[in-house]
Every structure is written in C-alpha cells, then in structure tokens.
Amino acid sequence: MRAPAVAARSAQDRSARRKLRRKLGMTVVGYVVALLFFFPILWMLLTAFKTETAAFTVPPRFWFHPTLASFGEALARGNYLHYALNSLASSLVSTGIGVLLAVPAAYAMAFYPTRATDGTLLWMISTKFIPAVGVLIPIFLIYKDLSLLDNIWGLILVYTAMNLPIMVWMIYSYFKEIPAEMHEAAQVDGANTAQVMARVVLPVAIPGLASTCLLAIILAWNEAFWSINLTNTTAATLPVFIAGFKTAEGLFWAKMSAASALAVAPILIFGWMAQRQLVRGLTFGAVT
C-alpha cells in the first residue's frame, strides 16, 4: 500500500523537476537568442569606444581601454546637430502629414466599405512590395526638374508616400476593432461624420494612432536609401552622416560606429520610452 504511493510521489517529483529543468532550458535559450539579436548593436557600441587600430584587430577584442576619441572625431568632422535636426524634422512632419491623410482614408474604408475596398487596400500595400530602386530614377529626374533635390520638403514628400500604405493599413485595422454599434449609436443620436470621428472613433483609437505614429517615426528616422540618393548636405539626415565616414582608404570603423551610436541613440531612447505603447499597439492590431 505504501510502496505505490512513494513511487507515485517520486514520479511526481521527477516530472516536476523535469518541468523545472525544461523551463530553465527555455529561459537560457531565450537569453541566448536575445543576445544574438542584440549583438550587432552591442558590437557597434563597443567599437565606438575603441581606437581605430583596436577596432581593426584580428581576433576582435572584448576587453580594451575605452576611449571617447572616436566620438570626438565623429563630432568634429560632421555637423551632427544639423543632420539630427533634419532627421527629426523629416520624420515628425512626414508622420504628421501621413496621419492626417491616413485617418480619413482608413475611416472611409473601415466604416463604409464598398466592393472596391479590399482591392484598394491590397493595391496600397502592394506598392510597398515594389523595390524602391525601381522608382529611384524617375523620382530623381522629376525632383531635379522641380529642384526638390537636397530639399527637406522633397524628403518629407517621399517619406510620407513611403509610410502612408502602412499607416492606412494599421489605422484601418484599429478602426475595424471598434464595434459598428458604437458608430451607429452616435449616428442615431444625430452626430454628423465629423462629430462621430472626433467624439467616438478617435478617442477609442488613440492608442492605435499613437503606435502607428511611433512606427512611422521610427521608419522615417531609419530610412537611408532615399536620404542618401536625394540629399547631399542641406537636407541630409543621420544615415548620410553615418555613410559619410566611409572612405576608400584608411580605417573608419571606429568613427563610423561612433557616428552610428550617436544616430541611433535618440530613436533608441525614444523607442524604450514608448516600448509599452508600441508592443501593445502591434499586438492589438495584429488580431484582425
């Protein structure tokens, strides 16, 4: 009578221990994967604190005397603030214009769908599947004629167009989550479209709008292709600043890493502050 109970208990123990061990294993795997994803950024930060020769040693060194020399050189060679302000202006203004255009578009498609709605949505997102280089030359030539090259407004125009499909899609999916009854109830109460939008739809969708804007700002901030090709100095953004450290001869890794660290720092801090909002928004929208 006793033996089976003991055996059962030890079996229970064993399974509990096995469960614990598996949990521990998963945790370790999780940390390893996280480190793997984080490693390039870590390496960039480490390289930024090295001297040029230390950055180039083989095998690479993890332990070294940290120095701020590369930061000094990076700051001395380019006007960081000028590039940073351009980045800030282009990402904020393009996101502002984008959200002003995307909200009405998403509103119409979410609450008054017609037979064309699915097709329109699909067509919008499919423009994101075309490689940007495909339209580089036409846009470059048009911009040259309109003297929009190296002009911050030209960049803002491209960024708005680039992010608009994503913004419409995200806002559309947030609007879709709002029960149609709420919308109808407001209409029955005699609210016109503007009132429904301002008093009912937008307050509910604010978290979604916020995360859409965050994403658009981050995408515009990190955009390199258009800013490298369409701007030179006047309207150049931080990616141009980073790429400017590339030289045909000589060592530039430490300086470039320092420049990169300076370029990603603002958006990284911003991202950390907005992290909860961002994750919430992304999962909220993904359910549809």
Binding site: D118, G134, I228, A243, K246
Partner: protein, 90 residues
Amino acid sequence: MPHLGQTIYVVIMLESIFFLTKFAEIYATTSGGPGLATTNLPYLIFLESFFQYDIGTASTIAIFAVILANIVAIFLVRFVAANLAEGAQA
C-alpha cells in the same frame, strides 16, 4: 506550428522582398566591392545612374529588379487577398 504557418509564410515572403532591395548596408560598408563582388541589383542601378550617368541602362536594370520582386510579391498579394476575403466573411 500549423497556426504559425501562415505567419511564417508572410514573414518569409516579406523578408525576401526586403532583402532584394537592400541598399544602405552595402553603400555604407563595402560600396559593392571588391570589384562588383557585393553589388546587388539596387546598388548596380545606383552605380549605373550616378557614376556612369547611364540612365537608360539603369532604368532597364530597375525594371528587372521590379520584375524579380514582383515574382515574389505575386504570391504574397494573393495570400493577403485570400485572407482579406476570408476576414470579410467571418
């Protein structure tokens, strides 16, 4: 895994399209060199148009780049369209 299948499908498709259009990484590190060893289509277009000033050739390559991306995109668009229609019914 069966539930993740769709997501994985979309991620693979999107990533292949994104990697077909990588540009900044190449520009900032190897500049397509040594020779043309690390030049991809977007970078080749960039070289042709802004270094050789051969807009015609560059445009031709650009069309090929778009076609290549569209081959992948067709599957993705079809898939998304099917999902949209499904979502509308549910």
